[in-house]
């Protein structure tokens, strides 16, 4: 299994600003993903973070709003840009080995509130 940590755990931000969330895995993982979980709802995939190439975004999510970096096999960042109150949510990253195992392990999440 993989142990995943995220920073910050929570933040309160002003409208129009940006926040970068960090995701660190304790071992090398092939796949890393970013999800959003709005209050009382399930997880929605934002994008797949690909090491060494651009992230792959799901329908409804764009790079200008959610730029992602993945500089190596243990680390990724998600930036929430030009925030509005509708971006208030929990942001979760996950990691998995991909071909050797399909199981994804999740971080504790970042609770974002935009005022």
């Amino acid at each position: 299994s993989a142990v995943i940590s995220q920073k910050p755990s929570r933040d309160i931000c002003q409208r129009g600003t940006s926040l970068t969330i960090q995701c660190q895995v304790d071992s090398q993982v092939t796949m890393m993903f970013w999800y959003r979980q709005q209050p009382g709802q399930s997880l929605t995939l934002i994008a797949t973070a690909n090491q060494g190439s651009e992230a792959t975004y799901e329908s409804g999510f764009v790079i200008d709003k959610f730029p992602i970096s993945r500089p190596n096999l243990t680390f990724s960042t998600l930036t929430v840009s030009n925030m509005s109150p509708e971006d208030s949510s929990i942001y979760l990253c996950s990691g998995g080995q991909g071909e050797s195992t399909d199981t994804q392990y999740f971080g504790p999440g970042t609770r974002l509130t935009v005022l």
Binding site: S42, L43, G96, Q104, Y105
Partner: protein, 113 residues
Amino acid sequence: EDQVTQSPEALRLQEGESSSLNCSYTVSGLRGLFWYRQDPGKGPEFLFTLYSAGEEKEKERLKATLTKKESFLHITAPKPEDSATYLCAVLPYMDTGRRALTFGSGTRLQVQP
């Protein structure tokens, strides 16, 4: 489009009262089905992966089963510490190698002492 439907939305049990949670799925080809447990304010915790119809996995008071259209999470003699939201997710076969999960909306389980 892949779909995952979980029922019931919420379930309240007395301690020791066994029950089952359902996860129905529609996917073009199933690579795997996953169960997670999520406590309030925390990320999902992995429980089980099921790959083929007829497969069963057990862990303590939990047992997960899989058919071609649905999965069940059976909870035997639950305890208050089993209270959580249980999430089901599917991973379809994709020629592109995409590994993204599609999640259901979850079942909120409350076990009362």
